[in-house]
């Protein structure tokens, strides 16, 4: 179906090729997973399939890419529109119309599909992706998960032979991600469509993949999922558990692992386990809970026009705790963070940070009390070099020169200070942003979707950083969909639904009892309440 024949691609004015001698054959009706670190060339590989590389990006492509017998060299993307459906990372940026139904029909209109056929296909896709309640809704009013499904739907209506997706679930809550992935497998199994998808969150996709293409420095190697996991440096928790326990073959899905887990359960102590991080006699650098209250909300309510984003939210955030805020897309997580950070004025109730009302504080006073890293950390950085960024931050917050540089160095050591903030990797950028906002030493740190776009290496480093922060007495509040991250670091979890708090308690209790928010290890070892591989390893060792 898709054939890469010795493809080498170099962006215009780039010193190094982005793809090197890629030789690949993807047969029809398979689901391929493309993995690799940020900047390894994943997106380039995907865009080469429908000809956006090189027709739209420019640059030089050697070799030959063929889709369903059509060479991309002679067929520009618009000619391939009926063969390849493309879904980008940010569905919002790719929408051309403004209503769900029109968006679904857009590609078909361009292809000149007969009106009667169009009507039928739109209905089919509405059913397939469970979109029919949304058909007349304005795209702007949808949640991220709904938008992602509409984007996939609009690629599907043209009934392409190949569907290419770039991180389709990275912005989605676990429930919505399951929905999208279920739809994708259905396409592969029932309709025989070839699906190529890039994804960082292996734990979500790995079990569905037929083959895995690993991209490293522009080179692509292909393996079966199990083979790929054997040698991989970073693996989803279920694979890590399999490795730790010594299962063979390695389980790729929770279901596989559960079959093998009976023996393991009998080897583990029964009943709720005390986590090693929070053991009273554990590490001396862990601040015992509860610490002092650094931030609180009282009956906080927020409204945008007629939409209620938050209702009656009362929370205390204490020093030294890592609080995870979870919930569906659009449940009000980001709004809660924005209020804690003093970006919004509450409609009802009040917010207190360090005894002050945050939205009334001057910017300079605000940054000494609370730090927020938005989902796109690049938003915080605007200087030409990291060094300039740090010096600017010192000036803005009236810090001693060098303070910010030191903070950044602590979080991401060995960064080239002359590099442009845009040129460093996603994880390093998050680190720089975090260092910049942490330099004034605010007691409260807020993170919105910190793992979005992070590969496993960067995520592991983030976990370390968060633990250090909490150990040094910071209160950390993060809004996230990443259940594995929550399992690793969060001590307390708050679940929001439609702006209201529906659960607030220790992470273990809240997470293990939720079918949606449970991490893989908890699912494998249910009903026992284990959260992470590290816990299991520790218990086995003792």
């Amino acid at each position: 179906m898709i054939r890469f024949d010795h493809v080498t691609f170099t962006y215009a004015e780039a010193p190094e090729p982005a793809l090197r001698d890629v030789d690949l054959h993807i047969p029809g009706g398979e689901l391929w997973l493309v993995i690799g670190e940020t900047g390894s060339g994943k997106s380039t590989l995907l865009q080469a399939i429908n000809g956006l590389v090189p027709h739209f990006t420019g640059g030089e492509l050697l070799g030959r890419v063929e889709v369903d017998g059509l060479a991309t060299s002679t067929h520009p993307p618009r000619e391939l529109a009926g063969t390849v459906g493309m879904v980008g990372q940010d569905p919002d940026a790719g929408f051309v119309t403004d209503v769900v139904e029109d968006e679904l029909a857009y590609t078909m209109e361009n292809l000149g599909v007969a009106p009667a056929v169009m009507r039928r296909r739109v209905e089919d896709v509405l059913d397939l992706l469970n979109l029919h309640p949304l058909r007349t809704r304005a795209l702007a009013s949808l949640s991220s998960g709904q938008k992602q499904r509409v984007a996939i739907g609009s690629a599907l209506t043209a009934s392409p032979r190949v569907l290419v997706l770039d991180e389709p679930t990275s912005a989605l809550d676990p429930g919505a991600a399951e929905e999208v992935l279920a739809a994708l497998t259905r396409l592969v199994h029932d309709l025989g469509i070839t699906v190529v998808t890039a994804e960082h969150r292996l734990e979500r996709v790995l079990q569905y993949a037929d083959r895995v293409a690993v991209v490293e420095g522009g080179r692509v190697s292909v393996a079966s999922p199990a083979e790929a996991m054997v040698g991989a440096s970073v693996v989803p928790p279920v694979v890590a558990l399999g490795r730790a326990v010594g299962w063979s073959p390695l389980p790729l899905s929770v279901r596989d692992a559960r079959r093998l887990a009976d023996g393991l359960r009998s080897r583990l102590p029964v009943g709720p386990v005390v986590p090693p991080h929070h053991a009273p006699d554990g590490d001396p650098d862990v601040v015992p809970l509860p610490g002092a209250v650094v931030g609180s909300t009282t009956r906080l309510g927020a409204r945008y026009g007629s939409v209620v984003a938050l209702r009656d939210v009362s929370l205390d955030v204490r020093a030294g705790e890592v609080l995870a805020v979870m919930g569906r897309n659009g449940a009000g997580k980001s709004t809660l963070l924005a209020h804690l950070a003093g970006l919004r004025e509450p409609t009802d109730g009040k917010v207190t940070i360090d005894g002050q009302v945050p939205h009334r504080l001057k910017a300079r006073d605000l940054v000494r009390r609370v730090a927020l890293v938005p989902a796109d950390p690049g938003m915080l950085l605007y200087a030409e070099t990291i060094d300039a960024e740090c010096r600017g931050a010192d000036r803005d917050s009236a810090l001693d020169p060098g303070t910010t540089r030191a903070a950044v160095e602590r979080i991401v050591p060995g960064l080239d200070p002359a590099a442009h903030p845009r040129d460093v990797s996603e994880g390093q950028r998050l680190g720089v942003a975090l260092g910049v906002v942490l330099a004034p030493a605010p007691p409260l740190v807020l993170l919105d979707e910190p793992t979005r776009g992070l590969d496993y290496v960067a995520k592991a480093r983030l976990v370390e950083i968060l633990r250090e922060l909490s150990a040094s007495g910071h209160a950390v509040v993060m809004a996230t969909h990443d259940v594995e991250l929550v399992a690793e670091v969060a001590g307390r979890v708050v679940v929001l639904a439609d702006g209201e708090v529906v659960a607030d308690g220790p992470a273990r209790e809240v997470v293990c009892h939720s079918p949606i928010f449970a991490p893989q290890v908890a699912k494998v070892l249910a009903p026992d309440e284990w959260l992470t591989v590290a816990e299991v390893e520790a218990a086995l060792a003792s």
């Binding site: 945008y304 897309n329 980001s334 709004t335 938005p374 809004a479 969909h481």
Partner: protein
């Protein structure tokens, strides 16, 4: 999940700029309506004419070859009393008031459209065939006429009482067809200020009351045919030339059209009139025919305009009211 920064469009917060915009507009509307009320109340008044503190400027208004309210081919010459820093526009306005004519009409960019109600609204520098019909602006000195490329509102003629002496404000209605190889036709009237305004010695202006309101109507010796087909060239030069002596003794013609123009002001009615009556017979007749109806439509127009204004405002309010009802119905 949408990131914190993008989630929710702009928060509901009062938009100061919008309020300022609305406030500015309301303030502007109040100022404007007050100003309009003030100026329409004073409309037609002779504001500058009586403000004279002894400053006089000579002016020649030549209707050219066309038929006009003042008669075909009329040329008016008078010495106007004006304020100290009067512009060309002020002189013209004062002259019009003195003659009892409607105020000069300008268009939105300040171009002079009509003198003495001629040509009638909304015409302004219109075309006739390939020619333009417009009022040309001149300055006269003893040496002759000079065409002015700037507008009357920007130029300030010096008064005859000033140290440098004065020039004549010249206005000539031009039909492009008149333009000959030698250029635009000049106003047919004396270009020498001394011929219109008596040279005043450095004595106190208060002691020479005569010039205020003196004026002369030049009628070309060849009677102009109402179609404007007369030959304008020759008569101009032979037109009676008012000397200072002549001015004070001859035609104080201002009063005649003044009566027809609605009788607003007759600043110059003290002088004997019999000779003027004789001299201006046909002109008056013509003026009477055309000017009188204009005056009437003017008065009736005011009443109609008030009614129309009322109806118009009611219509706007009615549409707005229906709109409010509709908002209630569509967005309860």
């Amino acid at each position: 999940m949408a990131d914190a920064l993008a989630s929710g469009a702009a928060p509901e917060r009062p938009d100061r700029r919008r309020r300022c915009g609305a406030r500015c507009l309301v303030a502007l509307a109040i100022v404007l309506s007050g100003a309009i009320a003030g100026s329409t109340g004073a409309f037609g008044g002779t504001r500058r004419a009586c403000a004279a503190s002894g400053n006089h400027v000579p002016i020649v208004i030549d209707f050219g070859t066309v038929s006009s309210p003042a008669g075909p081919g009329t040329v008016r010459t008078l010495c106007v009393a004006v304020g100290s820093r009067a512009t060309g526009s002020d002189v013209l306005a004062a002259a019009s008031a003195q003659l009892g004519w409607p105020a000069p009409r300008y268009n939105s960019i300040g171009l002079l459209c009509a003198i003495g109600g001629y040509p009638s609204a909304p015409a302004c520098a219109d075309r006739s065939g390939s020619h333009f019909l417009y009022w040309s602006y001149w300055r006269g000195a003893a040496s002759g006429w000079t065409y002015q490329s700037a507008g009357p509102a920007t130029l300030r003629p010096s008064s005859c009482e000033s140290r440098g002496g004065c020039t004549v404000e010249g206005w000539r209605f031009v039909d492009g067809a008149d333009t000959s190889a030698s250029g635009l036709p000049e106003p047919r009237g004396p270009s020498d200020p001394a011929a219109i305004c008596p040279p005043v010695a450095t004595t106190t202006p208060a002691t020479s009351p005569a010039p205020a309101g003196t004026g002369t109507t030049h009628t070309p010796t060849a009677p102009a045919v109402p179609g404007g087909a007369s030959t304008p060239g020759a008569p101009t030069t032979t037109a009676r030339r008012g000397t200072s002596a002549a001015t004070s003794t001859t035609t104080p013609g201002g009063h005649a059209p003044a009566r027809h123009g609605g009788g607003h002001s007759s600043t110059a009615t003290t002088a004997p009139r019999h000779r003027a009556q004789v001299a201006l017979g046909p002109v008056q007749a013509a003026a009477g025919r055309t000017a009188a109806p204009t005056a009437h439509t003017g008065g009736g127009g005011h009443r109609n305009a008030a009614v129309g204004l009322g109806i118009g405002v009611m219509a706007v309010l009615a549409v707005l009211a229906v709109g409010f009802v509709q908002t209630r119905r569509t967005h309860p």
